[in-house]
Amino acid sequence: MSKLTLKTEGDTHVVVVRHFAATPEAVFRAHTEPALIQKWLLGPEGWTMPVCINEARPGGKIRYEWSNGQGGGFHITGEFIEVVPFSRLVHVERMHLPDPTPDNHVETNFAPDGAGTLMTMRMTLPDAAARAAMLSSGMEQGMEASYVRLESFINSFPRA
């Protein structure tokens, strides 16, 4: 069951909406406290985040480093623009692959929704090309995860 909606809007936006069965305060904390972020913001199976810097205040820095445990990895850097405890985060981020990708401007809102929280994340890329590149980097990660699963499936067969 997927509660996630992800859609493109206009030429440059991507909007993600997700409901959580927890208060806005808890969801906000899970987005700003490194010890919590490192437990979930990991992407495909097998990836970890050994470095997590999140200074949730205007002008504060963001640095997330991911590793696949086999020498592969990449990192993002960013800066906070606006921080409204437990309801709103605005930041810019870029991936280093290793060349930096165009800045992704991200607004994340946490609104009470029944007993839980509705999170709306609106990403704005500088142009259509940058958005297509960002979406396709998601594809590469997803494909990598599929290949890893395929590999372990193949390796589970006894050798002849």
């Binding site: 997700r18 959580f20 927890a22 437990k39 990991l42 297509a132 396709s136 998601g138 594809m139 995860a145």
Partner: protein, 107 residues
């Protein structure tokens, strides 16, 4: 069965992906496609030839113009990009659900 290798190598170029993103909004002429990019019409035409060869776009003749639009397969490809990102985010947020449940029991 369209050539998958040709489709993937056509999709590997950021300008061609941007052209597809523009065509997702509807049919366009070479002139209209060249406008948002800082490249010449002949360069756009070369990209279009690659996309057409890969079966991602189709073109029709209208007087001297040859407007292009997405082939149905290209729509599926673009949806697949979104699907992969969706898959990554879904995995992340399912883990976040567990983190939030853990935070609740600790309170």
């Amino acid at each position: 069965m369209p050539n998958l290798d040709a489709a993937f190598s056509a999709l590997a170029d950021p300008t061609r992906r941007a052209i597809l993103a523009r065509l997702a909004l509807g049919e366009a002429t070479v002139m209209e496609l060249a406008k948002p990019f800082e490249i010449t019409q002949p360069a756009i035409s070369r990209h279009l030839k690659v996309l057409e060869g890969a079966g991602l776009i189709v073109r029709r003749v209208e007087g001297t113009k040859r407007p292009c639009r997405l082939a149905p397969k290209a729509v599926a490809e673009i949806d697949q990009w979104l699907g992969m990102l969706r898959q990554t985010l879904t995995a992340n947020y399912n883990r976040l659900d567990d983190v939030l449940a853990e935070m609740k029991t600790k309170e």
